[in-house]
Amino acid sequence: MNSSSTHFVTSRRIGIYEPLHQISTWGESFKTNGCPNTSASTIAELEAKLDNQSEDTSHGTPGPSEKYDQEATKPVDKVQRRLAQNREAARKSRLRKKAYVQELESSRVKLMQLEQELERARQQGLYLGAGLDAGHLGFSGAVNSGIAAFEMEYGHWVEEQSSQICELRTALHAHISDVELRILVETAMNHYFNLFRMKATAAKADVFYMMSGMWKTSAERFFLWIGGFRPSELLKVLVPQLDPLTDQQILDVCNLRQSCQQAEDALTQGMEKLQQILAEAVAAGQLGEGSYIPQLATALEKLEAVVSFVNQADHLRQETLQQMVRILTIRQAARGLLALGEYFQRLRALSSLWATRPREPA
């Protein structure tokens, strides 16, 4: 017994410290190189190492040496279970670390964005709330507060979006079950639907603000279509990320692309007609821009139509997203949503980059 317990003690020391040592060194390499692929292979290596060490029956918890004699007689599978738990804990720790670093990176981007927006708001001085002479700027208090509330809510929405994207990324690399992945997918979808609801409310406060995409960053606004992204663009971003697709899926995606384009074209044509009508009404001075009170009803009615367009465009975005998710498997949908989220993140980052680019002094 003596010789085996000595053997025990030596292996135990190796057993406890080595995984921790591995984690800290792995953590160092992760910091310098944030590529998820490298981490994935490192995880695999580490798992293999831990598996090999399971040959030893000695990875017990630290305790008085009397315990080892008792534990040596316990069945091997209890030790195996402890081993598995150790692996699991180590893995979870790695994933948490990963998620934390991703969050730090996205917070950095957000910080740059915020600085840019602050600069812009300072220059414009439009929606900084109290302290401004709203009458002088021609806004009513109600309009200001509706939009100000939306901007604040949107800031939170973007933050929440970033953390959801991190979760999706982590989950896809960790190969979690379809059931758990479905929850993430539904959360992400509901998040988009929340945005559409927020936009509908804000459109009533100031529809021209919504149509101009004022809450978005400059690069996002470059691609603006009726107050948001083009549904057909969304499909172009998603589809390359989804290989392999079954033949049926390819057919369905093709049909969706076509329907989406047709609906988009119809809305665009309706929008053009509305612009034409409005332009003619303004040219003829028919919208009560003077003090013709009776004409105000007509003007408001025409502007109501713009609100409908924003709502219909968002409705189309929502329907397109939902149909995509119906066509895809859960894993494909998760990948697609991740790709979409990252696409918008990159656009926002591009805007920040552009805003902070070195310029020649005036």
Binding site: L256, A263, A266, M271, A305, E319
Partner: protein, 141 residues
């Protein structure tokens, strides 16, 4: 049961509402002269859209259907007649057990109330719309 609305004497009343086929693209704008026409128009056109005059949403529905190869009948309703027409369309819809107020633009396919722009868009995206149009005889390919 139906309230009598005054006829607009300045509008020619067609003796029979025109049947909508892809080969007769003319006379798709029917100005509503009186109430008794509505039920006829609904039943005799494969696809008909009721909308306010100059409404851009009606335009959107029309362009979407045209883009699919459908030639919808479009009925533009004057402001004064709006409420009366909506009531009557509602009764046609209620006859099929569909509750809820009808809104403009209102789309009827195969003599039955289909819905508004929301419904048309959603049905098109999910791929339901084209088979329904074919079944009603509005699409021939």
């Amino acid at each position: 049961m139906q309230e009598a609305l005054p006829y607009k004497t300045w509008l020619p009343i067609p003796s029979e509402p025109r049947i909508n086929t892809p080969t007769t693209p003319l006379h798709n704008q029917l100005l509503l002269p009186g109430t008794t026409n509505i039920t006829n128009m609904v039943s005799e056109n494969a696809v008909i859209v009721f909308g306010r005059r100059g409404c851009c949403m009606t335009h959107v529905v029309k362009r979407l259907l045209l883009g699919l190869g459908v030639n919808p009948a479009v009925c533009e309703v004057n402001e004064e007649d709006e409420i009366g027409v909506l009531d009557e369309l509602g009764m046609v819809g209620a006859g099929e057990g569909k509750q809820g107020a009808v809104q403009f633009p209102a789309v009827f396919i195969g003599g039955r109330l289909f819905g508004g722009l929301d419904r048309v868009m959603a049905a098109h995206i999910t791929g339901e719309l084209v088979p329904i149009l074919k079944q009603a005889g509005a699409l021939w390919l």
